[in-house]
């Protein structure tokens, strides 16, 4: 059960040094975005040996940053100085990895700026690989938002994420048809966790990389088994190209 995960934990020095930027976003709040960003951060930490630099856009309260208080900062994207810190910061530190937890209220403005300044071209010139993970909410509007974003950034890696904890995102209206028509690099299905496992996963003192490294052996067997199953399910969704890459998931 633990083979591929344990392998990741043992080989951070073998990772490519290519820089990556992972944007975790959704058009809607409270659909598991920060949990997914935490998971992605933990796995990237496991692979590279250090946490990525985090930009948490949930100003002023912060979300992801509470799980990684020393790894980044809260940025107020309504301020140009923060936009400069975020976008220029990613292009200037070409050997780093970045995690952007994009709050739903900043979803449209962020990608407007992204397109306006043609960040994708800047990233390509600097060798920065950008991946967008879009958490699809259980509305047709959310699928439409995902499809529009995906179409507007044809050169950016786009991965829709369906969180089973919020229900079947493709069962509403024409969602399944719209989804089928999207250009996606692949998709991720986030399995639903029990309330206990969910609570643990969302706890600021819990980290998936530490869990994989065996630091929570005192957990009840059922809880550990569920969390292992959750992780294995995600790992099995990776394709062969991504295995061993610096993409977080």
């Amino acid at each position: 059960m633990e083979g591929s995960l344990a392998q990741d934990s043992q080989t951070p020095e073998q990772e490519q040094t290519i820089a990556s930027a992972t944007i975790v976003c959704s058009d809607c709040p409270r659909n598991g975005k920060t949990l997914f960003a935490k998971l992605a951060t933990d796995i990237l930490t496991l692979r590279t040996g250090r946490p990525p630099t985090i930009f948490d856009t949930d100003e002023p309260d912060g979300g992801l940053i509470h799980h990684f208080p020393d790894a980044g900062q809260i940025v107020d994207l309504s301020k140009t100085t923060a936009q400069v810190a975020l976008f220029d910061g990613m292009l200037e530190r070409i050997d780093s990895h970045f995690m952007i937890d994009l709050s739903a209220r900043h979803f449209s403005p962020f990608f407007q700026i992204y397109r306006d300044i043609d960040f994708q071209t800047g990233a390509e010139e600097c060798g920065l690989e950008v991946s967008i993970f879009f958490i699809i909410d259980r509305t047709e509007a959310s699928i439409v938002a995902a499809a529009e974003l995906c179409a507007s950034l044809p050169r950016t890696r786009f991965i829709p994420v369906r969180n089973e904890a919020i229900g079947d995102a493709l069962s509403v209206g024409k969602s399944a048809d719209i989804f089928a028509g999207m250009r996606v690099d692949r998709e991720i299905i986030l399995p639903e966790l029990s309330a206990e496992a969910q609570g643990m996963a969302e706890h600021v003192d819990f980290h998936f990389d530490s869990f994989i490294a065996g630091k929570y052996d005192h957990f009840p067997f059922e809880l550990k088994a569920e969390l292992w199953g959750f992780l294995e399910s995600l790992y099995e969704q990776r394709d062969s190209v991504e295995t061993g890459s610096t993409h977080p998931l």
Binding site: T80, Q83, V84, L91, I113, I117, F119, G122
Partner: protein, 250 residues
Amino acid sequence: MKHSIILVGADKGGVGKTTLSRALLDYLERNNVLARAFDTENPRGTLHRFYPARATIIDLNNVADQMRILDTMDSASEQVTVVDLKAGNLSSALDIFDRIGVLQAARDEEFNLGLLHVVGPSIASLDEMNEVAKYTNGMDYVVARNFINETNFFEWDEATYSKYFARLPNAKEIEVPKLNEMAYEQVDLAGATFSDFIANKTAKGEDGNFSFVLRGYVRKWLRDIDQQFGELDMIKSIMAAKRSNASGDS
């Protein structure tokens, strides 16, 4: 090829005349149109700061300086002359040009004459349009609504503006979009042209260290304004003449 003079002016200060002149010179340069410029903000010359080699500071009330613009059109290697009129000098400049026969010569098609009239968000700008209307016969008259350093707030409503605009025969309109304040400031501080700033070049042509985000904002802004320039008759005729010259040369 017939020479083109483009006046950029307003009777109110701080509405973005020089910014528009800079954007226009940038546009012409990127489209390989040779242009010279005259900066009538005597003696300081804001346009001159960005185009020291191309923009000459003049005093439009001085006859010798009037001659530098008008009597050199045929001999100039540039096909286009851009005149950035000093703040508050639009009506008086047009009056001078009228008295010395420039407007009539344009009506007689000796050269092309265009006016980019920059209007700000105040009611006074509407009255300015009325004031200027009497001079615009025979020239390409363009009202440039400037949003660059303002929000979308205009003191006058669209219906009132439309009434004023409708009274202007053959007037065209462009909107100068808003440019991020910090980006605007950075270009200003750099003293570089918009194109150089985007290309991360300093005013001296050396590699710059300008923010990617701010350069991106300027690139987007310039692209938006370029699109509007490209739809103006005065610009279309300049481009058409350039193409015609090029095919004649080859």
